[in-house]
């Protein structure tokens, strides 16, 4: 991409960008800061440096169980939503279908309906059906919210590659499943990873729907919400939050690094 005289360095914009990053990061970085602070009160001035909240965290069985619940829900949600996203994306990009527009709009509805509406309406449905609330019901709610994201992520992948390769494969007598597995799948694979990560992130951090639909086993956000009330529990929650932040750091940069490795040229987009 050639940059010409149009884009001379713009000093004020540069300063603004740095201020903006500070605005994004400062509130977030308070979490690790206070997770090392030897006081149950989350306020300045700081007290002694300590690791004890991390110890507390690792001994906090209910919190680790909540973390495990969130991981389970996130993994199942992202797998199912991604699969549904693949089918839907392939259908709408490969076939001329009457009513395509309204159908896509319908699937995208969760993007434009506040989460609380889904939470309460699914709660009413499940309780009228007599279904017991559990991690399954939370997962159901999360899948519905994630499908549009999965589909949006997958559509450009299908639009971007030449359908004639698939046709060539079937012309060679390969069956549809084989064609999908050996030709389509590898090409859309980056989209699958992107969709998986996106759905996992959304589910992992989702509070409102989980609040209405969770049963006896809380997800991590629900557990954290119940702990925010108690000063002595809070620093342990901050410790876990800091660890999650660090793990995401590593995962995101690792993903970036893996993508860039061996690539002859860099491009923007994707994850």
């Amino acid at each position: 991409m050639s940059m010409s005289y149009i884009n001379r360095p713009n000093r004020p914009l540069h300063v603004y960008a740095l201020l903006y990053l500070a605005f994004l990061y400062v509130p977030v970085l308070f979490l690790p800061l206070f997770s090392f602070n030897d006081s149950i009160f989350i306020a300045f001035p700081l007290k002694e440096f300590t690791f004890k909240w991390y110890e507390v965290m690792f001994n906090n069985e209910p919190m680790l169980a909540a973390l495990a619940n969130s991981v389970k829900v996130g993994v199942v949600t992202s797998i199912v939503a991604t699969f549904l996203g693949i089918f839907a994306a392939k259908a709408v990009t490969r076939y001329r279908m009457p009513g395509r527009g309204p159908v896509v709009a319908f699937i995208m509805l969760p993007l434009v309906i506040p989460g609380i509406i889904f939470g309460v309406s699914l709660l009413i449905l499940l309780s009228e059906l007599g279904v017991r609330l559990s991690l399954y019901t939370v997962t159901l709610g999360h899948i519905i919210v994630c499908v549009p994201f999965a589909m949006v992520t997958m559509i450009p992948r299908f639009e971007g590659f030449d359908a004639s390769i698939e046709e060539a494969s079937s012309d060679l007598g390969e069956n549809m499943w084989w064609t999908f597995w050996r030709v389509t799948f590898p090409v859309v694979f980056p989209g699958i990873i992107a969709s998986f990560l996106l759905c996992f992130t959304i589910s992992f951090d989702e509070f409102i729907i989980a609040f209405f639909l969770s049963g006896t086993e809380p997800t991590l956000p629900i557990y954290m919400w119940s702990q925010l009330r108690f000063p002595d529990k809070l620093p342990g929650v901050l410790a876990l939050g800091s660890i999650i932040l660090m793990v995401s750091f590593v995962v995101v940069f690792a993903a970036h690094w893996i993508r860039n490795r061996g690539m002859p040229y860099k491009r923007v987009g994707g994850v």
Partner: protein
């Protein structure tokens, strides 16, 4: 998933040679094949969206008596929503707070997206990751950390007192609608940056060159080309923020104080301590319809504006 793969295998044509009336039918009707492939997703979404919404509407016509629902249909709950000033006022406040938050987020994020699109030439991806990374922390904890910042003896107040600018902590920072707007703006900024960035990145650079060659200065060039062409991204960003934030009740609960609570707080209370589910359903529908109306009006107006300036 085995069901789906089985469906795929059996319903989609293996090759042109394989027989069977079903597959020939499928071959002939492309639309049918499309819908077959779409059917698992569509089915789940119908179960997950239409059925609950249908029941939500149904329940909003019931009334609560103690533990039981009176299932005779009545519009009483809606009359209640229309008559009682509290519901209208909270609805208006929800719209104002979310609208303000969408506006603030777009205004703050636009220059940043512009910077990355036009002034970052290497490692753009790193910048984008840098901007989205904070959103990998728990939403709840991010909201909570704003409480630390805006609080009575929080970062801002102790900073200002330390510098000798004020004697008493500024109390309006926390427990006010302002606190809710600030926090939501921070929490949703990644959702604004990405669509705006994508729309800016798509602009054909030769158009800008052409405008410059025709003698446009940077400001004129921005308002004649860059801004109009990025409007779709701006509109998308505004809606992506406006709609979900209307339904948030966490931030208002933690930071809003008595004057900062929103309609969603009241809705969630109806399903919890107040225990009047039909009223909650009616409020939820009122909220959804209002949000939809505002969004449609917003989209129509911004389309008109876009047409006028491009």
């Amino acid at each position: 998933m085995t069901d789906n793969t089985a469906t795929l295998r059996s319903t989609l044509p293996r090759s042109t040679k394989s027989g069977g009336w079903l597959s020939s039918l499928l071959m002939r009707f492309e639309a049918l094949r499309g819908y077959l492939l779409l059917s698992p997703t569509l089915l789940i979404m119908i179960i997950g969206i239409c059925v609950p919404l249908f029941i939500l509407v149904g329940m909003s016509l019931w009334t609560q008596h103690g533990f039981e629902f009176d299932k005779s249909l009545t519009l009483a709950n809606y009359f209640n929503v229309a008559e009682q000033p509290i519901y209208k006022a909270l609805l208006a406040r929800s719209i104002l707070i979310s609208g303000g938050c969408a506006l603030a987020t777009v205004i703050l994020s636009y220059p940043m997206a512009y910077f990355v699109a036009f002034h970052v030439h290497r490692h753009k991806m790193v910048w984008i990751i840098l901007m989205t990374l904070p959103f990998w922390t728990s939403y709840l904890l991010r909201v909570f950390s704003w409480k630390i910042i805006l609080g009575y003896n929080g970062v801002i107040n102790s900073g200002l007192i330390g510098m000798g600018l004020i004697d008493q902590p500024l109390e309006f920072l926390l427990y006010s609608p302002l606190a809710v707007v600030i926090t939501l703006t921070h929490a949703w900024s990644a959702f604004a940056i990405l669509p705006i960035y994508v729309s800016l990145e798509k602009i054909d650079r030769s158009l800008l060159e052409a405008a410059t060659d025709l003698g446009d200065g940077p400001v004129r060039r921005f308002f004649r080309i860059t801004f109009p062409m990025s409007l779709p991204g701006v509109i998308a960003a505004a809606l992506i923020i406006f709609i979900p934030t209307v339904g948030d009740y966490i931030t208002p609960t933690l930071l809003g104080g008595p004057d900062g609570i929103m309609l969603a707080n009241l809705i969630s209370a109806q399903f919890g301590k107040v225990n009047d589910w039909p009223m909650g359903a009616a409020l939820a529908i009122a909220l959804m319809v209002t949000v939809a109306l505002f969004s449609v009006v917003f989209v129509i107006i911004s389309r008109k504006v876009t047409e006028r300036i491009t």
